[in-house]
Amino acid sequence: MELQILLFGIALPSFVGAAFGIWFMRRTQAGRPDCFVGLALATTLFLSAISEDSLIQFMALNRWLWFPISMLLGAVVVGAGLLFAQSPLARTLVVLVSTISAAILLNIPSWEIFTNRLFLGVGAATSAIFLAQVVKRRANISTYIALSLSLIGPSVLAMLSGFAKLAIPIGAVSFCLGIISLIHIAIQSKSLDRAVGLSGAVVIASIAAFGAATGFGYDTTNLPISSWVIAAIAPLGLWLGEFPMIRSRTTLSAWARICGCAILAATAILIAALFLSSNSHSLSE
């Protein structure tokens, strides 16, 4: 049974997403390879989510599915927008429009108020823009690994709060990035160097932020809000490699990026785990 969850919830969507992403990246015209990798990652999330729940009547019965759907539609918006947007300002506007549009769709418990979703979208867009700066500058395998680790944060928090159907799709995207890392190591292709790209950065930042927001919205275990916030910004751990003392040293910077994301993800998980264990302890007393 667990094997089926691994197969249909994680393995198949991840391999489809990785194949889709690499195909997109290799097929897209030179110099513009970062339009649809985000769509590949969002497809992984969506396929994994619908392996867990039915889209039938999702607006009323399975409203959490707005999360993967909004990610998929947001990825389409950012991918299509980046095909045409030339200037940095236009690309920034594409990022803002896609993340805010996706956030507005996220009509789930605790986020019913429109302005809250708007702020969430602006926050995710800000995170995506900051993330894109590093992703653009550091397009190599350490970035894939770091981003893969960063998504473990919201995934594990969702699992700790009891929301397995949310944890599995986010975990699948993390696994998908891990597969791309392995392929990158195996074939050593320069064309994979920009695989994450701006669209990938936007989707990863959004999955972390909106995934944490969805988990927080449905959480009944009252995990500390700080754990959700840290999980939401875990991809920004990439910036650890950009510290002045570190940024000029390639290997050290790569390890710092990986450690930065891992530390943020681990901190979020640790806060939640300590909270749950302290609560269990007080109950047993």
Binding site: M1, E2, Q4, I5, E52, D53, S54, Q57, M59, A60, L61, N62, R63, W64, W66, L73, G74, V76, V77, V78, A80, G81, L83, F84, A85, Q86, S87, L89, A90, L93, V94, V97, S98, I100, S101, A102, I104, L105, N107, P109, S110, F114, L160, S161, G162, F163, A164, K165, L166, G217, Y218, T220, T221, L276, N279, S280, L283
Partner: protein, 217 residues
């Protein structure tokens, strides 16, 4: 620049339109329920009918479902409230209007409770109560009634029929008391609660026991 943003803006506008529709979306409305047996009874023989208020301290809901195709997993709900209307006990009609607080679900394991409250199962933030409102009742031999009514759970309403047993009736210094119990089985996937069903991790068929104690008001 604005021309280059046109595709993005047009898709975004579509998403906003969907969003507005989504905001206006309301949970699945329960079908209009015919007048309850309680109301009918009161119209016919108001003098005979007694309205009982469910005592949430001494009432509970229990459920039993198969786990991993092997053992039976039990859980309970404590937040059981509502009204029971009887007419001419022990031969008359019986009407039930019962509400259960889904957040009161308990398995004696904190981690499992969190899982049961999540959208994997009861999604208590979206569906804080489940209800049963009877629409008709038929007296059976002994202390039994066959009661039909609308069970609303996880945003889905289904008509069910179950046998209800009167377990006792007594007078105490605190007033009159009456007790009922019923056991019925549902397929949880029919109520949109299908986590683990296809993978056979958790059974589809759930046996529900509801034990009620009520006092006359």
């Amino acid at each position: 620049m604005f021309l280059s943003l046109a595709p993005t803006l047009s898709i975004a506008a579509s998403l906003l339109f969907i969003s507005v529709a989504n905001t206006q979306q309301t949970p699945v409305a329960a079908p209009t329920v015919a007048p309850t047996t309680a109301q009918t009874t009161q119209n016919k023989s108001a003098a005979d009918s007694t309205v009982w208020k469910i005592d949430d301290t001494h009432s509970m809901g229990l459920f039993r479902v198969q786990h991993s195709g092997a053992g039976m997993f039990w859980g309970r709900f404590d937040g059981v409230t509502g009204i029971i209307t009887t007419s001419g006990i022990p031969t008359g009609t019986l009407a039930l209007d019962v509400s259960i607080d889904t957040n009161s679900v308990s398995s004696a394991n904190k981690d499992l409770d969190g899982h049961l409250r999540s959208p994997d199962f009861f999604s208590v933030k979206e569906f804080p109560t489940m209800t049963f409102v009877s629409t008709s009742s038929k007296k059976l031999p002994g202390n039994m009634w066959e009661v039909s009514g609308n069970l609303t759970m996880h945003g889905v309403t289904k008509l069910i029929t179950t046998n209800v047993e009167m377990t006792g009736q007594a007078e105490s210094p605190r007033g009159k008391k009456i007790g009922f119990e019923t056991v019925f089985t549902i397929d949880r996937s029919e109520f949109g609660m299908s986590y683990g069903v296809e993978k056979n991790a958790i059974g589809n068929s759930v046996r529900i026991t509801v034990a009620l104690e009520a006092g006359s008001s």
